[in-house]
């Protein structure tokens, strides 16, 4: 049984969403007359689905669109890291420990070169301090090459190949961001680290999203003792300060675990607190929405509680949920960095940005090997991009607001 006006409920409630209405957003054919054009634009605006409106509004937020592209690029880095990194993760060349970033040159004695090249790197010892330092050997040039054959690796663990996006001819080195104490290329390690650092935020957020949504919806809709129990549990969980709780739980992960288990353990630890905020938000929304007319109407029309919850109530505030999870990702990335930095999070051989930064923990690093700090730039970039994108999404989440 369908009561006709139920299908029009979006006009009464402002933000109910329904997939069957999305099919109506086909663009009207272009027309000649400007009057008619404006009218058509209006019609288009009024018949657009909520998601369509949100997309239009988001598109206007230039900074957020730019940030989304940055995020997209960073995740591209994470997905194709084996191919994009000049060296494989475990590759090391002890002859080049603590080598500073190599410069790409366009100019040489014989003038301008349209294609950049690097000079050969020569390690020397200072005659008095015996400190090792590197100099460029300007007699030997290695032009930067695209799609070169280099060190072999297994792409996605599936097949063996040795194709790298960037590289130089054999004999030369390409350390664009310098090397660490064992002569491993920082740029490659950062690119591999992106895979771990960026996914840990996503997996963590997904976990807290599932937990928060399910528990929040149940708590809000059933109320009574269920609600009471959940709210108390949340209160108790929230009264643990987050960093000490993270520290305590990560310290509790057994040292005998495999890297993958540790990784999963850390994401669970990180998402353990995250879901509480989300559950509260969801509960609050459900509490107010279930009193709305459209919820009552659905109930009268014979919809089950389950259907009302997931089909009618949930879509009305889905956009807000998406915003809060977007804004939760940077917190988790920073959390992982902090934990790994303290030595409580991921441990080598897993390479994440936090693990990389642990090596740059002292003042000597800042003074003598500042390039060891470059992972921080990626952390900052990621966090900023997520924040800007979240800002844009927040504005777009309520497309009916003026």
């Amino acid at each position: 049984m369908i009561i006709p006006w139920i299908t029009h409920r979006r006009w009464n409630t402002d933000n109910a969403d329904d997939t069957d209405l999305e099919t109506r957003t086909d663009h009207p054919p272009p027309s000649e007359s400007p009057d008619l054009d404006a009218e058509m634009a209006d019609t288009e605006l009024y018949t657009a689905s909520q998601w369509q409106l949100m997309w239009w509004k988001f598109r206007k937020h230039k900074l957020a669109v730019g940030a989304s592209m940055v995020i997209f690029a960073l995740y591209g880095l994470a997905v194709f890291c084996e191919f994009l990194a000049p060296y494989p993760l475990m590759y090391r060349d002890t002859a080049y420990a603590y080598a500073p970033p190599q410069r790409l040159h366009f100019f040489a004695d014989d003038g301008f070169h349209p294609w950049p090249f690097v000079y050969r790197l020569r390690g020397e010892r200072h005659p008095e301090t015996l400190r090792k330092f590197y100099a460029e050997d300007t007699s030997q040039r290695y032009p930067l090459r695209l799609l070169v054959r280099g060190e072999p690796y297994r792409f996605w663990g599936l097949f063996q190949t040795d194709l790298h996006l960037l590289g130089v001819d054999p004999g030369g080195t390409l350390f664009l961001l310098g090397t660490d104490s064992m002569g491993r290329d920082m740029l490659s390690r950062i690119i591999y680290g992106a895979r771990i650092s960026l996914t840990i935020g996503l997996v963590g957020v997904t976990l807290s999203f599932i937990l928060g949504l399910t528990i929040g919806v149940l708590s809000g809709y059933y109320g009574g003792w269920v609600d009471n129990l959940v709210q108390r549990a949340i209160e108790i969980l929230r009264s643990f300060p987050s960093i000490p709780l993270w520290m305590a739980l990560s310290a509790a992960l057994p040292g005998s675990w495999s890297p993958l288990q540790i990784y999963m353990g850390i994401t669970v630890v990180l998402s353990l607190i995250g879901w509480t905020g989300l559950a509260r938000q969801v509960r609050g929304k459900i509490l107010s929405l279930r009193e709305e007319d459209f919820a009552t109407a659905a109930l009268l029309a014979g919809a089950s509680k389950w259907r009302i919850m997931w089909r009618h109530l949930l879509p009305s505030f889905m956009s807000h949920i998406i915003v809060s999870i977007t804004l939760a990702v940077p917190g988790m990335i920073l959390g992982e960095t902090a934990l790994s930095f303290l030595g409580l999070g991921l441990r080598p051989p897993i390479t994440s940005w936090g693990v990389l930064l642990k090596e740059a923990q002292n003042v000597q690093a800042v003074a003598f090997q500042p390039w060891l700090l470059t992972p921080v730039i990626f952390v900052i970039l990621t966090v900023l991009a997520f924040n800007f994108m979240g800002d844009g999404l927040r504005d777009a989440a309520d497309p009916y607001a003026r």
Binding site: P241, L342, L357
Partner: protein, 331 residues
Amino acid sequence: MSHLILHRLLWMIPTLLVISIISFAIIQLPPGDYLTSYISALEETGETVDAQEVEALRKRYNLDAPIYVQYVKWAGGLLHGDLGMSFEWNRPVKQLIGERILLTTIISVVTLLFTWAVAIPIGIYSAVKQYSWGDHLFTFVGFIGLATPNFLLALICMYIGYSVFGMSAGGLFSPEYQNAAWSVGKFTDLLSHLWIPVIVIGTAGTAGLIRVMRGNLLDELHKQYVMTARAKGVPRLKLLLKYPVRVALNPLISTVGWVLPGIVSGAVITAVVLGLPTTGPLLLRALMNQDMYLAGSMVMMLSTLTVIGTLISDLLLLWLDPRIRYEGRER
């Protein structure tokens, strides 16, 4: 009002009970106990450990008793204000925390004041002059501050302190005052070192607060009562400070409760990097070495402070904004 406070105080009892159980459980989670990690540390250095001696130690520390017995002993001690003994330091937990709490409190309070002193005026300015040149600048700087991990700032500040001002890297005192008794000289020495941790710990908070302050104030400024008051001729500045700013301060007050646990956990990461003699690194060490009673009591203390802090900020909110009601609305 008194009914509300009483109600909340009563709720604290079961909450704290559950918290103590969870704290204890978390501390017990890692396989083995302090002695096993102690023994493995000894063996790493090549020393042999006498099995009988280990058993004797285990008995002395009650580590052979079932877990619930250990819990009851520990929780019972907590009720008497006895936080237990630290294995590693072989001293009462209370003493260990006690000697670090003063400096930790000083740092936290100064940081809080710094955060507020910087964030509130900037937040107000940013909201009043929305989209001005200054607003964009502060927003940009604020976002950078939010996104920069604390330890990086700590490293950079330390480097600047070392290379520009010639300060000893890390710590809160110059070497000559390290073990000296409190004096005017030591105090000024402390002040000259304090700026690094205060800036480092305060930056993220300041940046966040500016965003919150700006957002809230913008919401308030567009409300009708502001226009009404302007129309009635209330001077701009007086109006601004008396009404919208007061309302916009609400979120600040609701987070002030978090300062209490912050005093004890004391920005662990920064403290570790800077080598500050505060409680944060103590907790970290205790967790890593499975120094059970020290870690457990500190986690317990932190949570208790959070619960109390939340209550305080709720009460402050009530006082600041009489419209807020916490009593449940019955439908």
